[in-house]
Symmetry: C2
Subunit: 249 residues, 2 copies
């Protein structure tokens, strides 16, 4: 570590600090969501936009899988595809997200069409897919490390949404329960990989930048939701307008 590189445990601490400062559990839209401060139409907008993120996760994982060098690494990463795409029709994270979408009263086909998506959601999610495709395997794996922080936000979201919205049920939120075990399994693997392979100061800076980038991807999606749908609400041309949305004069 003569080049100024950190010990692996210090790198882990640095990565956890990035999450503590930049993960989207700190975002005002998340706070409104779990505190029950949103109208049904605003929750719909969140579910609709977040669907696009969910739907593109297998594309990002497949492009990384294609570049992993060993059967061991590919087997480990393949679990993510199984988690999201399922093992048969109606299973997997995307199918469960569509149950959430229907549970909050949206038309499934409309959501899948992405016709009402905020352009900023598309740009942020596509930036993530492109990042994973174009950067080093080390950076691509590091960009998944936001999962280190997801059990906390999921617990907060599920308990808050169940307590505060009468249109939200356990079944609607079925997406999240498996994530509480999948995400730690995946982030343990990714963190171990990053700690082992990011040995130079330059590599360690690159993995921190990758995690900051990914935090930006998540954060900017909530920025766009807040700006478009929270009082006063500036819905961009062509995007979803909730039935209960108060149009600005």
């Amino acid at each position: 570590m003569s080049d100024g590189a950190m010990a692996p445990q210090d790198l882990e601490a640095a990565l956890r600090r990035i999450g503590a400062e930049r993960y989207h559990h700190l975002h005002p839209f998340h706070k409104l969501l779990h505190a029950g401060k949103l109208k049904r139409g605003q929750v719909q907008a969140w579910a609709l936009n977040r669907y696009y993120y969910q739907s593109r996760i297998p594309a990002k994982d497949a492009s990384l899988l294609a570049r992993l060098p060993t059967p061991e690494l590919r087997r480990a990463w393949r679990k993510r595809l199984e988690d999201h795409d399922g093992t048969e029709p109606g299973t997997g994270g995307i199918a469960r997200w569509l149950k959430l979408v229907e549970g909050v009263g949206l038309d499934r086909d409309y959501v899948v069409s992405t016709a009402g998506l905020l352009p900023a959601t598309r740009f942020a999610v596509d930036a993530y897919v492109n990042f994973v495709r174009e950067r080093s395997v080390l950076e691509a794996i590091a960009s998944s490390l936001t999962e280190l922080f997801s059990p906390g936000i999921i617990a907060e979201r599920v308990s808050g949404m169940l307590a505060n919205y009468d249109f939200i049920t356990d079944e609607t939120l079925a997406y999240f329960k498996p994530r509480l075990t999948q995400a730690p399994r995946d982030s343990d693997f990714a963190l171990a990989y990053v700690k082992e392979h990011a040995r130079t100061a330059e590599q360690q800076e690159a993995v921190q930048a990758a995690l900051r980038f990914k935090c930006d991807v998540l954060w900017s999606q909530l920025d766009a939701l807040y700006y478009a749908y929270v009082d006063p609400g500036h819905v961009p041309p062509g995007a979803f307008v909730p039935a209960d949305h108060v149009r600005r004069s």
Copy 2:
């Protein structure tokens, strides 16, 4: 035109309607900017973020140029590279934009570093560069057609900013004057190309979608500026904070 395609002049009218409904001259941030309703720090945020857009335009034009099939087309498109990158140091649109950046009181190196950029700006601009690289030549050329509408917004912006901000001078706004002749020359060429080559209904729908996409790219950049910097202002982690910015509690 038996497949339901429009006559070329009807396609042009459809494209102009898209601009009338979706071009960012309608955006509330643009209205605040040219009406003199922004503080200096908010104008700085606009200049800083818009710099990234300017800086990536040659990348998008070069990737299209690389795919154009004839010397005639490449010569025509090469003018755009000359306009933006100049013919010698200190000339061209990017250099003129940096004069604007300095004129509003920003540090040039900080802006060029893009350290303070809004992530949403980066994602939107990169989406545009990727669109031009990945889609058909016809769609890539069509996505430039927002220039049909730029002389109007530039005239409004220059007169409004000169009248309303004491820190804005003719010299600061030197970027815009050449654009008043360059943009119509470029958009005349692109429009003629699109009218000639988009003959099927499918191609005509694709060029309209390309123009809507490009309007979204521009619009979402102003969405992000408004959300981050206009009252109350939610600056995302790591982005530029103007000296006169009032932090939220």
